[in-house]
Homo-oligomer: 338 residues x 2
Amino acid sequence: MPTSSRVTIRDVAALAGVSHQTVSRVINGFERVNPETRQRVEAAIAQLDYRPNAIARSMAQGHTSTLACIAPNLTDFTFASIIEGAETEARRQGYFMITASASEPQAFATLIEQLVGSRRTEGLLVINPYIDNRYEFLPANVPTMLVGAHARDLTSGSVMVDENDAGRMATQHLLDLGHRRIAHITGPLVEDCTQDRLSGYKAALQAAGVAFNPDLVIEGDWSATSGYQSLQSLAEREVQFTAVFAQNDRMAVGAIRALREMRLYVPDDVSVIGFDDMPLASYFDPPLTTVRHDVFCTGCEAMRLLIQAFEHPGSPPQQVLLPAELVIRHSTKFSKEN
Amino acid sequence: MPTSSRVTIRDVAALAGVSHQTVSRVINGFERVNPETRQRVEAAIAQLDYRPNAIARSMAQGHTSTLACIAPNLTDFTFASIIEGAETEARRQGYFMITASASEPQAFATLIEQLVGSRRTEGLLVINPYIDNRYEFLPANVPTMLVGAHARDLTSGSVMVDENDAGRMATQHLLDLGHRRIAHITGPLVEDCTQDRLSGYKAALQAAGVAFNPDLVIEGDWSATSGYQSLQSLAEREVQFTAVFAQNDRMAVGAIRALREMRLYVPDDVSVIGFDDMPLASYFDPPLTTVRHDVFCTGCEAMRLLIQAFEHPGSPPQQVLLPAELVIRHSTKFSKEN
DNA sequence: ATGAAAGCGCTAACAA
DNA sequence: TTGTTAGCGCTTTCAT
């Protein structure tokens, strides 16, 4: 069995005693081929270990069967899971996926230009498109799905968690435990998911008849350090609270660290709820109560819609909201004030 | 400015009043082009917003400028970091990278076949190639770099941490603190890095004149759960130890959880050292002493060598060992027995 | 049901 | 320095 794949359709044709076109028909599963001819061709393909050249096929067909996924980075657990979901779905449907990270808008712009300008890819999956205004560089002429943000004019749609409901759910959990002064550490305010979670927080407070206090809200940047610093800032301003809702688990962990340094124990003195249910969330001290969402599934769904948008141009933009669920562990507890 | 990129080299040629070949020369930065002609061509390119079609170029040149990276999954922090490093280096050198995960050998084989058989990619970066015998499916006719394992015959080389030295270093740290009975939770024994770290462990013991005790060694599977279970197994067998060296941080965290349930406190009763310095390692309780290695850099280096292997066929296989460093936090302490 | 011809957009080789 | 001619390996059209 020859190991080289430099065998072409013509070699197969010659061996089978047919035209190269007939070989093409067999490869592509065309119906109108004489069964006997088909067999001869298939035998020749097997004998020569022929495999079609994807590039030549792309050239002739005018499309590449390749999609791209761009994230601010590849190591954030939620991004990585989205990518894994997207890649799995892409391959399930016969596409390959180029993965790339762009940490800042200029790199993002260059990347888009290379990917789309060269017609290397049929569509784009963009994770977190609203940090540092990078959405300004989104292309208009290529199917584009957004993950973790709402769709804008020129996109084919978006997939995100029902952030509003998730934020409401987290806050409600703390309210149910009797907490009334709930500090809220958000992500960067420019991101859609931050705003939506904040809306959910406000909605839950309002429904419970608790006045919204802006002093309790602090903007973080998703890092554990920012969670830590947010708590310090609260303490410096002598803001009173009995619970903390952090918009991700890393900030929650940072907050817990800061609280401990202030000799405040979680959950006895202060309750803390996170968001994401990151790996090992249950291994922190205390095991983290959090909001779980299926981020692998988010990636699958986004890719599914991207492929749909590519294969059926002109179909209306899709906006998908995925559900989240509360995971109660040991970082939240009844308020002592009750 | 036309937004469509369906403009071809011939359109540019027509507008500039030259042959398409001259346009090709300008695009490719060929020297021997009359400066004035060049300017006319560049003006035409700008006017038509022409961008070369990467697929056509691949077709004509016979190569794709695309590499592939395959990992068991995309969410493991070390894999994700390697991928990020590899992708960054690839793009820096003008290549794109297809990323894919294959959780089991059959999926791996299929993936390789699709990627390589179709001649879609110039080379392969394979992360953790020795789990479940997937290395059997490595292709012989394409440059292949291994990450996290030693190179075998048919590969172009490998990049990994100096695992032996790292294992020795971790063990030595515990020995320096006076520990003599050091439990060792390994990764799967089929993996090279597991074996090397184990060798380092043995070497350090031997150098310190401490007899190797096989009862102290337990095979884990990298998961926190396996770290937890390993400790339980040790306890059930009533094996005595004052310190634990876990081959990754997740297992270390699991071990700490198990110890706590046995009312043994880290580091007062038992010291624990991990491996990897995963994100938030410093946020666990207690903050984890561990062995840090630059995993992004590992990815960069592997990609650099892969591209080298592709661009200079016939050059000898490279074997790179990267250094690791000890990070001392609060999960290790002097042995009480001293 | 099969084959011949043309062409996808580019580069390589040769000619002028 | 520039243009012409051939392809890269495949699919698409149009004959047969």
